[in-house]
Symmetry: D2
Subunit: 345 residues, 4 copies
């Protein structure tokens, strides 16, 4: 049994963490923080969270945290995370940071997309928390940078193909679509019901901050500088994400090789499924789960593969993967607390 704190627990990702941690067999939820709702109970703010009437939002206080918790999840905006992480680590508290602050190895890449990094030295020891890929490093990590939702949906199918040298490194396109919860609980016109409902649009075309994150990881694995074309879109639904990824195979690589590689790579993974030929995933198939479902089509004429990858942006794309990272860090069964599923509706 370990003691857990969740900072930023009044956002959609934070409350998803509360839900997962409170159902987890090996954890005790000891502290939740929120600047906006300090002093209120979790149930006050989220009436669906019955039974949390005594869990009161505190402000984030490193000293008091140190006395009681083994791991802190930070569901804070980037830049804010950096203000707390060094002190948490010094207190011997392990950290899974869900912001972008510790996802990058290359500080310059981070700084060009975000802002000045105030604890660059930690980028060397932080581990990118894409569990299926970085499991071994995560085991001994004290600081995990939990991947972005879009990167998760894109990197899981691409990395095995890249490692096996089956695909061209240039010309990769990911046309990705996310539900509105990806924009968080903060108010904005784009997330106003009447503006998002019955509409659909691309946004931040050519400038989304997840692009350098994706590119850095791809580049590391291919050992060359890679730059994908990434276009995010906003779906009129609450939770879920689907990426349609277009990739050119290398000469002599055919459908069978692709399938065998993906199957082999993920055969033992509890949360990644490679669908059978002619089967494609839907957001409804993974909603409320920590799964990533992947289907693909091989075009005989163009030798392109079209990969369809889907996750729940709040689970495998955020809180679920964060818990999976914790499970790895503490040697728990990797699926502990992550077996719930929502069913077809």
């Amino acid at each position: 049994m370990i003691n857990v704190g969740i900072a930023g627990a009044s956002g959609y990702t934070g409350v998803e963490l509360v839900k997962l941690i409170s159902n987890h067999p090996k954890t005790k939820l000891c502290a939740v923080t929120s600047n906006s709702y300090k002093g209120k109970s979790l149930t006050d703010i989220f009436p669906s969270m019955r039974g949390f009437e005594n869990l009161i939002f505190e402000s984030l206080d490193i000293q008091s945290s140190a006395r009681k918790i083994d791991i802190m999840f930070l569901a804070l905006p980037h830049k804010i995370s950096m203000q707390y992480v060094p002190a948490l680590l010094e207190q011997g508290i392990k950290v899974v940071d869900l912001s972008a602050d510790y996802r990058f190895t290359d500080a310059a890449a981070y700084e060009s997309a975000y802002q000045e990094h105030t604890s660059k030295h930690l980028l060397k020891e932080s581990v990118y928390g894409l569990c299926e890929i970085y499991r071994d490093s995560i085991k001994s990590a004290n600081l995990v940078g939990n991947p972005g939702c879009y990167p998760t949906s894109i990197l899981i199918p691409l990395l095995p193909l890249l490692k096996e040298d089956l695909i061209q490194t240039d010309g990769i396109i990911s046309d990705s679509k996310s539900g509105v919860s990806g924009a968080g609980r903060s108010l904005s016109l784009a997330a106003h019901f009447c503006e998002a409902n019955e509409s659909f649009t691309a946004y931040k075309v050519g400038s989304h901050r997840h692009t350098p994150e994706i590119n850095e990881i791809l580049s590391i694995h291919s050992q060359q500088k890679m730059a994908i074309t990434f276009v995010p879109h906003l779906l009129p639904l609450t939770r879920g994400m689907l990426s349609t990824i277009y990739v050119q195979t290398k000469k002599g690589v055919f459908e069978d090789k692709i399938r065998k590689t993906l199957n082999a790579y993920y055969a033992e993974e509890p949360f990644v499924s490679i669908l059978d030929k002619n089967m494609y995933p839907a957001i409804s198939h993974v909603k409320g789960t920590n799964r990533c479902d992947i289907g693909f089509y091989f075009d005989e004429n163009t030798k392109k593969i079209i990969i369809i990858s889907t996750i729940d942006n709040l689970v495998k794309g955020a809180a679920g993967q964060a818990v999976q990272n914790m499970n790895i860090m503490f040697g728990f069964d990797e699926t502990a607390g992550l077996n719930a599923f929502q069913g077809p509706l």
Copy 2:
């Protein structure tokens, strides 16, 4: 550990039962039946149900069932249930029937709303499975008629007030609203996306079959013939139900008395919550849970109370309550397998 069968497991209620039973600590799911999908696996039909690749839909066969199961849930249409229940009981299998076939005590009331009843003798021994009210009878029941979704949302708040003689028995109105999943998975124009989306309407005004079910239970508890006004409406959302109930209080009954009565009645109930003054429930607060949340407003001028009651039509309104009934019948912890919740989104 008991062995469970689910008949009609390819409908929305049936698959919700599969989900609950497979997460239940005391049950083993041994058989699922479906006429439409015989021979297919559950995962074939519901790709979100990963891990059920080996659970194959059978046709309903009483003899083979008898050898392996302790309890059968029937998520079948009314009339079809009646064809199987007598034989199941004879085989010593306990039954929770989710159709209307065994909800009535009065065969004539059933027959006027549905059709001829072919096992009237069983109506005497079947118990109406509204758990919080009929718990004692359910304990020893072999056959439970699981309540309708609308009746559940209406009877839970009304029955304590009626028993304590706080409300007038005439003039009760329930203006109820249900999500589209209440209509099931069968195709219909009313459930066609383009027809239900961005619309809202009343249906079966003055003729919904849940009316006599509600009236019978109310009449039994008030020991007089009662007839409420009930108007169901179709909401453009998938799951959830909310009833707004208008009731005249008896002379001398004020807000405080109502609140004390409801609080006292449901204080120890794990699945029923009486909200504080000025708090009203929303469908999102109970979605994915077995809860019934109740808020009310007392109008000083008219001495009316306006009760807002909300449930998830597929859980407390169907599969969840069915499992709760099973828990009572077998002496399990009543909340076993029913603690999952979906969180705010």
Copy 3:
């Protein structure tokens, strides 16, 4: 051809007015005002409004307005309207005010629900703009208080029955449901996509400000103090409103009399339809139109009638009725500019 100004044109009601006025055969749109978007074009703010690139939001300036416009629509919040109306009238500009400021005859009723009224003397000359009922007074009015959306959906079916003395004046209940656009374009958690989507709830139970508005009009027509029970709910859809109204008929009044009365009263009305027996309206039937569709059920046992009334909250419930009022004030064909319709989808 008359010159029209629209104040508050950057809200949902305001832009609906822009749409209607710009398609109207007898009007020229001369000015639009917006505090938030001064200097921007209408198309900048609403990209769907192609062709309005040169219509620039101004601040509201009575002097400059006076030189060019014949009528001003005020789609402003209550209290703000009062600041401008007296001066507009002094300049000889006719006004249709869509706020609540000039809907009341009784200043005290207004003040108890809203705030101090700063131009009480105008309440005597302002006309309540429920077109089908107050047409004669509207013809010569200089100031029209455009009705609230909920009152419109409730009063249209009730007033004829009240006038003909067919219904009991006490015990009337309206269970009303509105789309999210009724809450306007301002940001709020209740209108955040993830909070409203897949949910449904009652709000302002017992305290909605449309209640005194409804009560005042009912009281005037029944010549006695009336107070209805009114419960508004929030639907997960963008536009449309449906009220389910429960009324006790007077002794000796049966279905036939009700139907004849409503049919006779609205036979010649282009925007009000009384549906045939067993037909009930849906929001999708009136979306995008200025219509009010009404169906009803007479309960033989209780002698109650259940009236289902539906409008588009932005059209007949706001901008459309405002234009209808203008048509009456200027002697235009009452349907001018209001014949567009959206079709089934």
Copy 4:
């Protein structure tokens, strides 16, 4: 004034045609046909279509049609259209066919995607009704094959770039997303509210029948065999379509050249808009209109352009473009009857 017939008027496209034609200043709607609803009025089937109580669905009878109509719109499934078109033309009736039957020049291409063509000789004289591109041929056409919705959204932005030789002809990808109305009013599990709502998925990956239609038109204009990668997806909304198109520019072609070309090509077109730099269209911007809005991003690094193109699948993607074709065929103002718009909501 011309006389118009609409075959298949009880589908979503058919009823959209009824709406447009009945609002058109130069047309009289003389006949509507429907196999399913013969003898019923249009208002019976679509209660939102008030005022069409006397428009009765007939069965399609060429002889009786010949006496009264100048043009017939066929909103019938492919294969069914072919059964009527030759006889209609023989009777001197002009035809706009909204099925795929007369969209192809190459009968073999049609037959490989659909079925045997029973009036191949007409493919030479039928004109592909993409108005902005084939206007001159449409003027004198007796038979127009109205384009598919996906092809419309893709070809409008691509054809000018292809004609001016600015883009590579291989490697074009269109990731397209459509609302559920694109699947029509026929019942299917995919269009069941509970299955489509809160989900999103790709479908017919690598096999959608609009692919050969797109390829044929592209090939004609580039004078070489082209084959794009096209992946359609299903959006959880009723109407609207958005295509995200990825194209490699030719050497030496930069953003400015692309912009100038598209602007020049569509400068005078009433229904096509090229958005300013950094502006991207949303489905809500064109819903209910005959417009195609196009935004694009030029990636300096890869020299790719990302084009975002959006239409209302029922209007510019079907009924609206059909009416636009009629306007061209009869020499009417091309925008006649097509100026309505829905506004931001």
